[in-house]
Symmetry: C2
Subunit: 179 residues, 2 copies
């Protein structure tokens, strides 16, 4: 942040405000404190029978790799609404949500993932503008070496494990930077 | 947003960018798109034996009303770390987290709540700068008419109900604007 979005001043510093305990962008002009907080990514693990839907990414990062439909939650929607919106945008998929399935923090990139589990209501899916391809995979067909993000690998592994046990439960955890 | 925080230009409009489907703050100077996303509130329901810890708010909104310790999640922390940080800041409480307990969306104020359930490790708690008073309450002592936020009332009700059933489970939902 180089300029204050309230007053336009160029005297924005990064310092600890009085009474706070961490640095913020502070405007020397109008005194505004600009907070920056983690963002929420919402998505779905869509399944049909024994198969799971994946999207091949048409955009960076991880162009050409496979992922579950997910994206930034928008203002004015619930996380479930956002998850369904992303499924439509990326995979033209209609889904009946079962439940919230994985809650993962990724603190080094300031993200929180809320992924739902839900059944496809039909097979009329297909790539939206951000996907090259959309397809259903059985467990043994999953391209494990070509999954775009670790959170998606974890969610898929939880799913196939829970499926074998015959019981789905919420999984939560954190993905930290590789050391 | 009146000025672009990247280039300082005053020509910021609120319009739908090309390829998008909702209005954003757009800079007519440098072309930046400024996204605004929901914020995450993290907190804890701290219990000890049959009692639950509540904080009497020393700040607006809802000054003088009671709440569970909670606040905005910060960059660089996990939701559980943030929940413990808030418990310390507001109630000087040390807690051993059991599990994630309530996940609630409040779409009309662009917030997602992630509240954990955890046991107090000792009784050395007390008001932090944002609390007037911190105290333990049995179910029949809870000041139900003086709880600061509906999400906190819901979480407390879930807790005492689950407690009677002898089994705690994650609760999720949305709190929408009263019509």
């Amino acid at each position: 942040m180089k300029f204050c979005c309230h007053c336009g001043s160029a005297s924005v510093s990064f310092a600890i405000p009085e009474g706070d305990d961490r640095p913020r962008h502070l405007c020397g002009g109008c005194g505004a404190i600009h907070y920056v907080n983690p963002r929420v990514i919402v998505g779905v693990l869509p399944y049909l029978g024994e198969r799971v839907l994946l999207c091949k990414r048409a955009i960076e990062p991880r162009l050409g790799l496979w992922t579950l439909p997910a994206g930034f939650m928008e203002n004015g929607e619930t996380s479930e609404e956002g998850a369904l919106r992303e499924s439509w945008e990326e995979a033209r998929a209609s889904i009946r949500v079962d439940d919230l399935y994985t809650v993962y923090d990724i603190p080094h990139i300031n993200q929180v993932y809320l992924l739902y589990r839900g059944e496809l209501t039909d097979t009329n899916f297909g790539p939206g503008p951000e996907s090259l391809e959309v397809a259903l995979f059985r467990e043994e067909e999953i391209p494990w070496d070509e999954i775009a993000f670790p959170i998606m690998t974890k969610t898929l592994m939880h799913y196939f494990s829970d499926r074998k046990e015959g019981q789905y439960r919420l999984h939560r955890g954190a993905i930290t930077r590789k050391l």
